[in-house]
Symmetry: D2
Subunit: 330 residues, 4 copies
C-alpha cells in the first residue's frame, strides 16, 4: 500500500488524485494546495485530509509525494521530499534552469530518493507500444525518429514570458519522447522557429512554429515539428524509421464514424483536449509509479536524469534558434 | 440524487455499480445477489449495503432498481420493482418469451413505472453519433442499414440450450440497433443460418453463422450478419446508406500503431473483449438512466416496448431460419 | 498472334479495341458496327479494317471475335462465331433468357468453341487479389461473402424496361462475383427490393434498392446489397469472412489527399465512372483472353457456364422479390 | 501538332516516347541514342525515324526536343536545341554545377527558347491536387511543409560517385517539391546526414540517410527526410500545415485489399517501383508540355529557373552537411 500526499490540487493534481484513489495498491492520504479551498474540494471528493505542503512532506503517514504545483516550486519541493525520505513523482519540468536541476538531483542522489518525472506521453498506450516494439527489434536499427506535435490553439501571449518559451514548455515533451524512442543521447541540436500563428508571441521574444533536427553520436536523426495551432485538434504523432521498416502512431479521433457524400469521405477531428487525449497516459503513469514504489523498485522511469537531459535539449534548441547555429550537447 | 439497489453482482453488475458509485447524482445504496459473497465483495468496494433482493426492492431508501441477474429472473423482478414504485433499468432481454414480456409490460404499464432496457450499444459514442446524424438528416432518407456483428469466439455449445440461440441471445442486439437506426418498424424478416464455426452448436439445434434481411412498410431494408467467431477481435460495425450519402462506424482497434515492412502495412487487431469495447457505452447507459430519473423523465429510451419489439424480431428470425420462409411481423 | 474481329464499336468496344491494339500478341484486324460511322472511326484510330459483322465472323483472317453489341444480339452472334470456328469473348449477358442461353451454349459445345464471358470485375486487381488469397487459404474455409455494389446515379427509368431490371442488369455482376469468390454454387436465393431512389423506376415494375441473401449446399452464405445511387461515387466493395480471418477490398478514391481542419478529416470521393474504376480490369480481361487463346487454352474463365449460372441467380432473385418467397436453384 | 525528337532511348526515354505517341496533338518524329540499337528498337515500336542527336536537333521536321540522356550531356544539348529554335523538355538536372546551369540558361534566354525541366513529381495527381488546393487557399497561409521521401533500396555505392550524392541526385526532387508547394524561396538550409543503410556509401563520401530543414524570408519552414531504403516500398508523402488546416498526400498501395486476422489488420506494401508509382505523373508531365507548346505558351513550368533553384538548394545542403553549419541562399 502506497500512501500519497498530493501537493497541488489544480487541474492535473485532480486527475492524478482520482487515479490514486482508484488504485487498490494506493491510498490518497493528504492533499495540499496554496489555495486551501482547492485542497478542501479535492479532499472532500476523495476522502483525503487537507494539510500544509510542509506537513504533508514530513508526515509519517505518507510514503510518496506527488508534486503538481507550478514549475517554480518543483525543485524545492523535490528536495524537501527527498530529505524527508519520500518517493517523489514530480510534474515536468524540475526547473527551467539546468543548473537548478543539477543541484536538485544532487539532493535526490545524496538522500538516495526515488524520483520519477511526469513525462506522461511515455505512458500513452500508442507511444508505449511503439517504444516496446522498437526495443523488441520490430524494425531493426533505428535510423530516423519523426515527431509531430501541435497544440489545438495558442496560449495567451504573456504565458510565454513565464513558461520559458516553446522549446522549454512545449517541445520539451518531444525532446523526452525522442530520447525515449531513440535510446541514444543526441549530440547536436539545430532549431528553426517563427512567429506565424500569433505575432504577439513573437513580440514577447518567442516562436509559435518550430522545427528541430538532432543527431546522435552514431548518426541517427530525430526531427521534431511544433506549432501552437492545429485547427483539426491536438496533433500528436510519431513515426520511427528503421533498417527493417517503419512504426507509426497515428492520431486519435473523437469517433470512428465516417460520412461519405458528394464532398468525399470525412471523419471526426482529432481529439482536441490534452486531458482527453492523454487520459489513459496519465492514469498509466500514476499506476506505473505506484507499482514501482509498491514493489520496491528504486528507479522508475523517466527519472531525474531524463528530466535533466530533456531540459538540456530545450536549452540547446533555444540557443540554436536565437543564434541560427547548431548547438552541441556535451 | 438517485438511490440505487443493484440486484445481481456478477460481471456486468459490477461494471454498472462502479458507474453508479462515480456519478455525483446517484448513490449505490444496496447490493443483492443470490451468492451472498458476491454481493458482499461488491458492497465492500462501493460502500453499499448488502440485502436480499426482495428487501432492496421494497426499501424506502431506494429509488431505482438495476437488474443484472440471469435472464429467467428478469420479468418477475421487473414486476416486483414496478409494484414497489421503483424506476427500473433491466439488462436485456426481459424474457425469451414474447408472451411473458407482454405480461410484464402490462404490470409496468399499470403501475406507471419507468422501465429502461439495457441495450448498451445504443450508448456507444460511435453508434450514438451515427444515430444522431441520421436524425439530423446528414444523409437524407434512409435506404439500407447494414450491421456486421461478430463475436471473437464461440460460447460453449451447451450455452445455446439456455440462451435461446443465436437470434435471441446475440442478434437481438442487432435487431435493436436496426430499429434504433432505422426509426421505422420492420414488417418482414428473412433469416439464413448455418453451423460453420462449431458443429456442436449445430448439434444443439442452433446456428453460429447467420444473415437476416428485413424490410419496413415503406420499403427500407436492413441487413444483419452474425458469426460466433472473428479471429481479429470483436467485430462491431454499422453502415447506413441514405439518399444523400453513407454513414459508417468502423471498428475500434487496440492502438493506433502501424507497422510498415516488406509484408505490407499492419495495425492492431480490433478490441477483443466486449467489456472493453463497450466500456464507454455501459457508462453512458447508466448515466443516461440516472439523468432521466433525476430529471423526472418518465420514459427513458430504450424502454419496454423496445425490448418487446427486438424480441419479436428474434422470434421471427428463429422461425424464418427453421422454416426457410419469410416471417411477417404484425 | 491472335487476330481479332471486334463487333460493336460503342463505348466498351472502343476500350477493348485499344487494349487489343496495344497487346503485342494480338492484332485488331476488323471492326464492325451497325452504325458504319462508329466502325470507321474506331478502325481509323486503330489501323483496323471495317467490315460487316457477318463477314468479320467468316473471315479467315480472324481468330477471335469480341462481341460488344447490345444484349439482344449476343446469342446469335456467339452461335455464328462458334459455327465459324472462332474463339469468342462476349460481353455479359449472353441473353436475358436462361432458355436462350442454354440453346446458345449447346451450339458452342457442339462446335467445341472457346467462349469467355465479359464479367470484367473478376479481373479487377483488388478483387482478383482477394480471390487468389481465398484459394490460397489465407482465411481458411469461407463462411460469409458480402458484396456492396452501388451505382453513382440511376439510369433513366425507361432503361429498366429493356434491361430486364436491377437483378438482371446490375446485380448479375455481383452474382458472378459471389460465385467467383465462394467457389461453390448457391442453392437458395432470397431477395428484397424497393423503389426508394426514383419512383419512376418502381412505376416501370422494377426496384432501385435491393438486398439478396443466398446459401450454398454446405451452408455458406452470401449477402449482396445494390442501389442505383451513391452520392459519393461508384461503391464497389467485397468482404469475405472465413474461419481464419477476413479479406476485404476497399473502394478506390480519386487521390490519396486528405484535408484536416475544424470540420474533421476528409478525403476524395470514390472514383465515379465505371470505365475509370474498372480500367485496369477491362484491360486485364482482354489480355487474359488473348493469353488463353494464344497459348491454346480451351476454357478461359469465366466461360459460358458462368454466364448461365449468374443469369439463373438473377432470374431466381427476380422471382423471389416478386413473390416474397425464397427460390431454390436446381 | 507538336513534332518531337527524343534524344535518349533508355528507360525513361521509352516511357516518354510512348506518351508522345499516344497524344493526338503530338508526333514522335525522330529518336536518337548513343547506342544505335536502342534508338532503333524504340523507333520500330513507335513508328519514328532514327537519326543522330545533332541532326534531330537541326531537323526542320522537329518542333520540340525531349532530352533523356545521362546528366553530363544535358546542358550542351539544351544549348544546341535552344540555338536551333526548338522547344525543350529536359530531364532533371540541367547540370550538377550551378555555374554550368547559369551559363546554359543564358543561352536559353538569349535564344528566347522554351525550356521545361522534368521534375515529374509536380505532375503526380496527388501532389498536384495538394498544390492546387494550397493555391486555392484551402488551408490558408502555409506554415510548415513536410516531405518524406525514401527509396525502396539503395543504389550501388559507386553510383554516388557520379551522381553528386544524395542531396543532388535524390533530395533534389524534394527541394523542387518544397519550392513548388511553398510558393516562396528558401533563404537558409540546414542539413544532417549519415551513412546508416550502406557503409560503402559512407566510404564514398556520401550519406544514405538525411534530414534538411529550410526557412523562407517570411519564416515559413520546410522539413525533408530522405533515406535510400524503405523495406515497405517507395515512400513518397507530403504534408502541409497552414493557418486553417493540414493537407496531406498519403502513399499509394498495390491494392486496396486488407486482411484481418489474429495478427491484426494488414494491407499491401506501398508501390515499389518509381515508374509504376509515377506512371501518371510522367504522362501528365509530357502532356502538359505538349499542351504548352501546342497552345504557344512560352514558359511551361517547371522551367530553367526552377532547375537552377533546386540545384542551389542541393548545393547548399551538401555544404551544410559537410560543414555542420547552416548555409544561406542569396
Amino acid at each position: 500500500m502506497v500512501r500519497f500526499g498530493v501537493i497541488g490540487a489544480g487541474r492535473i493534481g485532480k486527475v492524478h488524485a482520482a487515479t490514486i484513489a482508484a488504485n487498490p495498491k494506493a491510498k490518497l492520504a493528504y492533499v495540499a494546495d496554496a489555495f486551501k479551498a482547492s485542497a478542501e474540494a479535492l479532499a472532500a471528493q476523495t476522502g483525503a485530509e487537507v494539510a500544509d505542503a510542509e506537513d504533508v512532506i514530513k508526515s509519517s503517514g505518507v510514503d510518496a509525494i506527488l508534486i503538481a504545483t507550478p514549475t517554480p516550486s518543483h525543485a524545492a519541493l523535490i528536495e524537501a521530499a527527498a530529505r524527508a525520505g519520500k518517493a517523489i513523482l514530480c510534474e515536468k519540468p524540475v526547473s527551467l534552469s539546468v543548473e537548478r536541476i543539477n543541484a536538485c538531483l544532487d539532493v535526490v542522489e545524496k538522500n538516495r530518493s526515488t524520483l520519477m518525472i511526469g513525462f506522461n506521453r511515455r505512458f500513452d498506450p500508442n507511444f508505449a507500444s511503439v517504444e516496446g516494439r522498437l526495443r523488441r527489434g520490430d524494425i531493426g536499427e533505428i535510423e530516423i525518429v519523426t515527431i509531430t506535435s501541435r497544440d489545438p490553439a495558442p496560449p495567451p501571449a504573456d504565458y510565454v514570458k513565464s513558461s520559458g518559451g516553446l522549446f522549454r514548455d512545449m517541445m520539451i515533451h518531444d525532446f523526452d519522447m525522442a530520447r525515449f524512442l531513440m535510446g541514444e543521447e543526441f549530440v547536436v541540436v539545430n532549431a528553426l522557429g517563427s512567429s506565424l500563428v500569433d505575432k504577439a508571441i513573437g513580440a514577447e521574444g518567442d516562436v509559435d512554429t518550430a522545427a528541430v533536427q538532432m543527431q546522435t553520436a552514431s548518426g541517427r536523426i530525430a526531427v521534431i515539428t511544433n506549432s501552437r495551432r492545429a485547427t483539426y485538434g491536438y496533433d500528436q504523432r510519431i513515426e520511427v524509421h528503421g533498417a527493417a521498416g517503419m512504426l507509426a502512431a497515428r492520431n486519435i479521433h473523437a469517433t470512428s464514424v465516417e460520412l461519405s457524400n458528394a464532398n468525399g469521405v470525412s471523419g471526426d477531428p482529432v481529439q482536441y483536449f490534452f486531458l482527453e487525449r492523454y487520459a489513459q497516459a496519465y492514469a498509466n503513469e500514476i499506476n506505473a509509479f505506484i507499482d514501482a514504489i509498491d514493489s520496491g523498485t528504486r528507479s522508475p522511469k523517466p527519472g531525474g536524469f531524463d528530466g535533466l537531459q530533456a531540459q538540456k535539449l530545450a536549452e540547446a534548441a533555444t540557443v540554436s534558434w536565437r543564434t541560427g547555429k547548431p548547438v552541441e550537447i556535451d
